[in-house]
Each structure stands twice: as C-alpha cells, then as structure tokens.
Point group: C2
Chain length 202, copies 2
C-alpha cells in the first residue's frame, strides 16, 4: 500500500516532510518514508540515521531566521541583536518540537557558524556573546518545552497559564502575588525586557 506522492525525493523534500511530521509529533522513519512514497529502508540512502535528519532539520530552521537583521540592520549593535533575537524566537516557536535539537546542534551546523560570526561582529567579547546566546536560547527552550507541537497564539497561551496557575497564598506568598507576571513569562514583552537588561550589562 503506497500512501505518499512519489515525485522528487531529495534531501530538501525529505526535510520538508520531516519538519511537518515533527510539528505534529509523529516524526518516525516509517511515517516519513510513507510520506515520500518510499519504504523505511530507502531513507538510509539519504541520511545515516534518524538523528542526522533531526540535526539537519535544526540547522535548516536556524537558517530561516533573517540574519540581515543582525548584520545590516539599522540602529546600534544592541538594537540589531534584539531585532534578530525576536525574529529567531518567532521562527523557532513555530516548531517547538525542534528546540531540543537546536540546543544540541547549537554550534556545529554550518548555519549556526554564520549566525555566531555575525553575533561576534555585533558583540566582540565572546563571553558576552555567549551570555546572549544562553539567554535567547534558554528563553525559547523554556517556552517551547511547555508549548504544544501546534503553536497557539501567545495571548491564548498566557491566558491558559494564568488560568492553570494556582498556589497556596500562605505557603508561597511571593509566588502568589506574582501570578500575573509569571503567566506572562512566555510573552514577547518579558523576552525583550530580559534581553535588554542582559545586553545593558555586557
């Protein structure tokens, strides 16, 4: 029983299909093969194993962020770092399930190298640059970890967090008092606020 279309099986098309399956939480070699009209074993002609597919996917996703925002954009280096980081967050949050792979392949991939070099141009102290990477990737990883594979709008995710968040006011007074702010931890506003603070210290 062949279920998928047969045309144009190449690494690019494979990654398109793989990303689609990853987003729906069902990236298996068997499902991917079926999408491409292939048998599972045929995939090993293109990639050595499943992990290689996920790594390639991670680097490709990184490449979807608009690097010109960091390189040629208007404004100060800090402003360009903020603009690129906001764009990167937007791109990566469209595929939360890929975030673990992004953390894993963070610096090895070819695209990651180009992003890194551009960041060092904007922020020459490499220790400072890494601090920014940690903040940006850390914030996105925390958001992605609780987002479903289907990314709801930010406002709805915050409302859901607020509704689900209840703590004993006696035992956790500070936490209880901060509930609204805590629900908004995943907001663009919080992301930008923290990033600006971090950059101001570097």
């Amino acid at each position: 029983m062949k279920t998928g279309p047969r045309r144009s099986v190449n690494p690019e098309a494979m990654l398109d299909a793989a990303l689609d399956l990853l987003d729906t939480g069902g990236l298996t070699m068997r499902a991917l093969a079926s999408r491409l009209g292939l048998t599972p074993g045929a995939l090993y002609t293109y990639f050595p194993d499943r992990a290689a597919i996920v790594s390639a996917l991670a680097d490709r996703l990184l490449g979807q962020a608009d690097l010109t925002l960091l390189q040629n954009g208007p404004g100060t280096p800090d402003e360009r770092i903020i603009a690129f980081s906001l764009n990167l967050r937007e791109v990566l949050m469209r595929h939360p399930a890929a975030m673990p792979a992004i953390l894993g392949a963070a610096f090895t991939g070819p695209v990651a190298l180009r992003v890194g070099e551009s960041l060092y141009e904007a922020l020459p102290d490499p220790r400072a640059a890494y601090t920014v990477m940690v903040y940006v990737l850390g914030a996105i990883a925390l958001e992605a970890a609780e987002a479903g594979s289907t990314p709801e709008p930010e406002a709805e995710r915050i409302a859901a967090r607020r509704a689900a968040f209840t703590v004993d006011p006696e035992a956790f007074p500070h936490t209880h008092a901060a509930a609204d702010t805590i629900a908004a931890y995943i907001s663009t506003e919080q992301f930008r606020w923290g990033l600006e603070r971090v950059l101001s210290a570097l």
Copy 2:
C-alpha cells in the same frame, strides 16, 4: 527469567533505579521493571506512564540542590543566588539526560515551587527572577545537550571541545580568534561570569 532484586518496591526505589537507567541512556519500562524484579505491566501500578516517571525524576533532582544556600546563606541576595546556581548546575550536570525533563517540568513540580518562592524572596521583581532562571537553566541545558550521559570532568570536556573546534579563519575570523574562549563556554568560570553580569543589570 527474573534478573533484578525483589525487595522493597516503592516509588522511591523506582525513581532511584529510573535515574540510574536514565544516566546510562537506557531508561525503558522493560529495563526498569527488570531492575526491580517486576514485569513491565506492574510499573503502571505506581505511575500512569513513562512521562510521569521522568517528571517525578526531574522534580526530585531539583530537590537535590541545597536550597539553604539561597535561603539562609551568608552574603548579599546576589551572592546567595550565585552560590545556589553554582550548586544547582553541579547537581543537574551529574545527570545531563534529565535536563530536557527539567526544562519541561520547570515550574509545576512541588520542589520547583519552593525554589521559585525562595528566589522571589532574594529577587522580588518576578521579571528579574525569571531572567535569572532563563540564564541559569539555559546555560545548564546547553552544557547538558552536548555532554554524554556519563559526565566527564569539566577540564576534559573543555579540552575535547578545543581539539574538535576548527573553523576557516578567512570565512569566520571572529569565531576563529575566539576559539579558546568558545571551548571554555561550558566552564564554571564562564557560567559565573555571565550570571554576575546578568544580576548586575537586575
């Protein structure tokens, strides 16, 4: 064929065995059952599914950090946050494979709530507190993502990173020039440096 010891099957003992298996990269329901002298199906008496075991493990691991460093330690609030963060990093880096679960269950678990409340006591602005969480957990997640499940000493990991790191000096001049510092991104020194900078801005 029974392979494991039979005595004392309770949730605590299960989590001990589960952590051990997670560290060696082989946490499966079948392996866990065998360790406990049980059949796979018997595990579902204690936990509803595999994910519940991993979540419980994550919260338990968080509890191994010494919260008194944050609550009652000497020094300024910032110094206590640094001391606790260094301790947390040490604890979590003993079990890198658990880091994804830590990110996922970051705020829901009972231990996580206590840690959060203590952090808010030291750093009352919740937006500032979250920025610290993002930095600390982000840095540990990036380190854990590339560490093997068996945690080598830090010095060896840095040396291995330095040896493996080669880039085209023409195409990536800044990256090439920063190679030594980049190799040391996973160092305690870099972790502390970044954290101090972040705290100084909050």
